[in-house]
């Protein structure tokens, strides 16, 4: 006969407001096998845990149900407490009566009934819980960082400086990310490249960092501590070991009118190119889509001029394999292109540009060497209109969230513009100014008070081009909602603070890695407050704007946090894991190996059953507990009912199903009482 204890939490008023916890306790007290059933105001507090611990000892419990918040919150807390009291932690189960009950129902009678049913089902389930032991697996103390922007760079350096090897994978030909393209940074106005490039060089020189640039993650298998990663090194068409980075190939290449990605399309590059002068690695790549040799079959000028003979037209993509213990995803962001805004003429009018394009125009290393000129005719813009929330907080454009960084960079842009074009007029259309960082609001005030940016509260409905005295101008039709009036501004340039969204391919990478992401394809953190840089998948960590829009300081803080999480993981030689793995009953197994086919972890192997004389009687399936992740796919497919999943056995689940329904008449009696 089981000896089960049930402990029900009020969670202050969170549960007790809609669930009559006393009645739940009464109801459970009457269930066969339940020897104690109590409720308490805050079960997770020290005194609350003490009640449970003492009961485990005094009532000699062999099963415990705690009815409270989601197991994601406190399952670990109570299992640890149970273990301290001498009970196998896996004999404790959580009944979720808060997130799944008290918070989502208003009617007290109905909620109480449901809470009783949930708790009762959990009691029935716990009867069949097995004593389990955590599994230990070895850890490969080697990290992979995906994405070579500021977040990836910071994470890689921190982990490497902590003494562990790091593999850094960057999709483009150089690390540096968006930060390398920024002009100056808020709220200090220090030059972006000046603070970033030393870090990039450090990455290149670090003995513990292996950099794969122009490379992408092909596949990831395995699990925390033991990932196997395949990386596709895209063909650069250049042998990086013999290339000296002298730049003569780039100089002589006749294909010169290709829109430069680094310059956000405002500058040109060659077909063989280094994206920007401070690139790391400072080795060129051939853009095969535009290269004359690859498109027309002749040219080969780069090969002719290359001193060290480093050009490799025949080079192919190469797949390399790496063993990795932890992965940091730092894949960053992109912004909506101007073409996304037909009402503002984006894509039709060359002087309607995005914030990132403005960064290049304002950057000393940019296509205009930092002089502000209109893309259309090179004239100095006398009036510039900045539109914040271009696409952000805009359900019609599919983006419900605030892009967070725009309010600050728009203020910065207005300031930089004023510094570069004295007497110029900067208008900023805004809905709210969200400047909630250290020295941030002061910065915005400075833009308004000292640099005379004219802030207009309202959105712009339309921008159209109109020739006035021989010059093409942009007519901006907005509203000043504080005055309740329409505003029309004739401008020379319109800058869209276009919305931040995750990089292209973020979701595809998440699927390869097996980690969740939200509807916008930002990576999901394990807990919004307490575990912001961990994903829900063990061993996968998050840094920077891949998780949500973030500015530089936040991305760096994230990256260092993720790096420290990686190092905590690497501080041990092996780690403990949940024991929820598949078990095979070799008496029942007849060796069809359907399980082997469905197992995504290659955890099923074949075991020969021999008689005394060594003859093979049959071959059965066997589970490698170190590899099994407990998905249960093998169990559902097994025709012989030979597999079962520890922690989620058929018996436990059948019993839980029964538990929901056997309560019906009983629960009603109690509730009516």
């Amino acid at each position: 006969m089981a000896r089960i204890g049930v402990f029900i939490c009020w969670c202050g008023e969170n549960i007790s407001r809609t669930v009559d916890v006393v009645k739940v306790a009464e109801a459970m007290a009457g269930v066969p096998g339940v020897v104690t059933s109590v409720e308490y105001k805050y079960m997770c507090s020290d005194p609350g845990q003490k009640i449970m611990k003492e009961s485990i000892k005094n009532d000699a419990l062999d099963g415990v149900v705690v009815a409270l918040c989601s197991p994601l919150m406190h399952e670990k807390t109570f299992r640890t407490a149970a273990e301290e009291a001498g009970l196998n932690p896996f004999l404790l189960e959580v009944a979720n009566i808060r997130e799944h009950c008290s918070w989502v129902h208003e009617n007290k009678e109905e909620a109480t009934k449901k809470a009783i049913a949930i708790t009762r089902s959990t009691v029935e389930r716990v009867r069949y819980n097995l004593q389990l032991k955590n599994i230990t697996v070895p850890i490969t103390a080697r990290a992979m960082v995906v994405g070579g922007g500021i977040a990836g760079i910071q994470a890689a350096l921190d982990i490497a400086n902590g003494g562990h090897e790091v593999v850094l994978v960057e999709r483009t030909p150089s690390i540096g990310g968006h930060m390398a393209g920024l002009s100056e940074t808020f709220p200090t106005l220090d030059c972006s490249q000046c603070i970033l490039t030393p870090r990039m060089v450090e990455v290149a020189r670090h003995p513990k960092i292996k950099l794969y640039s122009y490379a992408e993650v092909e596949s990831v298998s395995g699990f925390v501590g033991n990932f196997e990663v395949k990386i596709r090194k895209k063909a650069r068409s250049v042998d990086t070991s013999s290339c000296t980075g002298c730049g003569i190939c780039q100089e002589k290449c006749p294909q010169k009118n290709i829109a430069s990605e680094f310059e956000e399309g405002l500058g040109k590059r060659k077909a063989i190119y280094v994206p920007f002068p401070q690139a790391v690695p400072n080795k060129p790549v051939i853009d095969r889509k535009h290269c004359l040799y690859f498109t027309k079959g002749k040219c080969k000028i780069c090969e002719k001029v290359c001193g060290p003979k480093a050009i490799r037209y025949e080079q192919e993509d190469e797949i390399v394999e790496e063993r990795i213990g932890a992965i940091v995803l730092a894949t960053g962001y992109e912004t909506l292109p101007a073409t996304f805004f037909p009402e503002y003429g984006g894509g039709r009018y060359p002087d309607v540009i995005t914030g990132l394009q403005f960064e290049r125009l304002a950057s000393a290393s940019g296509p205009t060497s930092g002089e502000l000129k209109r893309p259309s005719d090179g004239r100095r813009p006398e009036t510039v209109v900045f539109l914040s929330c271009a696409g952000s907080r805009d359900l019609a454009k599919g983006i419900s969230y605030c892009s967070k960084i725009c309010c600050m960079y728009v203020a910065k842009h207005a300031m930089l513009y004023q510094h570069k074009v004295h007497g110029g007029k900067a208008y900023v259309f805004y809905m709210d100014v969200r400047a909630s960082g250290k020295n941030y609001d002061e910065f915005v005030r400075r833009a308004i008070e000292q640099d005379k940016a004219i802030y207009v509260r309202g959105r712009v409905a339309r921008v159209y081009e109109k020739e006035i005295e021989g010059v093409k101008k942009l007519v901006v039709k907005g509203a000043d909602t504080l005055l309740g009036e329409q505003v029309e501004i004739v401008a020379d340039m319109v800058v869209l603070a276009s919305a931040v969204k995750p990089s292209v391919g973020a979701a595809a990478l998440a699927q390869k890695v097996g980690t969740p992401y939200d509807q916008h394809h930002f990576y999901s953190e394990a807990h919004p407050k307490l575990r912001p840089v961990e994903s829900n998948t063990a061993g996968i960590f998050l840094a920077g704007a891949a998780q949500a829009p973030k500015d530089i300081p936040e991305s760096v803080a994230d990256a260092s946090a993720a790096a420290s999480k990686v190092q905590i993981l690497f501080s041990r030689k092996e780690m403990e894991r949940d024991p929820y793995v598949s078990m095979v009953n070799s008496d029942r197994c007849f060796g069809c190996f359907s399980c082997e086919a469905v197992c995504p972890y290659r955890a099923i192997s074949r075991k020969e059953i021999k008689n005394r004389s060594g003859e093979v009687l049959k071959v059965v399936a066997e589970v490698n507990a170190g590899l099994c992740q407990g998905c249960g796919g093998c169990i559902a497919i097994c025709r012989a009912k030979a597999c079962d999943l520890a922690g989620y056995t058929d018996q436990q689940i059948f019993s839980a199903i029964r538990g929901f329904n056997t309560t019906s008449t009983y629960e009603e009696e109690v509730v009516k009482k």
Binding site: P71, C101, I635, A636
Partner: protein, 152 residues
């Protein structure tokens, strides 16, 4: 299953959900305080790939009037392919159940991700409403009683 005829029909609906996506999605509905119908009760599983069709049959046997099976969206499975296998299996199960005469409107397959608290609440309301309209699953429950009489 006996029912007091004076009482309003309160359907019993059992939801088999995976712990990564739908369970967490239901948690999110809770943290967001979305109000929804109380008739759906959750059984947590590691993955929809773990769901044996026997669970569904068992649920009906034990008095359920409706069943929800919900996991991660295609391509999002934590275990890379569990939901894919589950889906294939349910395709076959679907035919089998229709063949034995189960009204398939009582079984709802869905994808609810960890971010879709709203979708979970809507799913619960939708299925509750439908099952309420369909009424108690007496045909199946009667079958069980007959079976019990045959094998006491």
């Amino acid at each position: 299953m006996s029912m007091n005829m004076n009482m309003k029909f309160e359907p019993k609906i059992m939801a088999f959900v995976c712990q990564w996506c739908t369970y967490t999605g239901a948690d999110l509905a809770g943290t967001s305080r979305m109000q929804y119908s109380p008739y759906v009760k959750i059984i947590k599983l590691p993955c929809t790939g773990r769901i044996d069709v026997q669970f569904i049959v068992k649920a009906f046997e034990e008095g359920a009037d409706g069943v929800i099976v919900s996991g991660c969206h295609p391509g999002d499975c934590h275990y890379t392919s569990g939901n894919y296998y589950a889906r294939r299996r349910f395709e076959m199960f679907h035919e089998l159940m229709s063949f034995v005469g189960v009204d398939m409107r009582r079984i709802q397959f869905a994808w609810v991700s960890a971010a879709e608290g709203r979708k979970w609440a809507e799913l619960v309301n939708e299925v509750s409403k439908r099952v309420e309209e369909l009424g108690p699953f007496n045909v199946f429950h009667a079958l069980r009683e007959q079976a019990n009489e045959l094998n006491p």
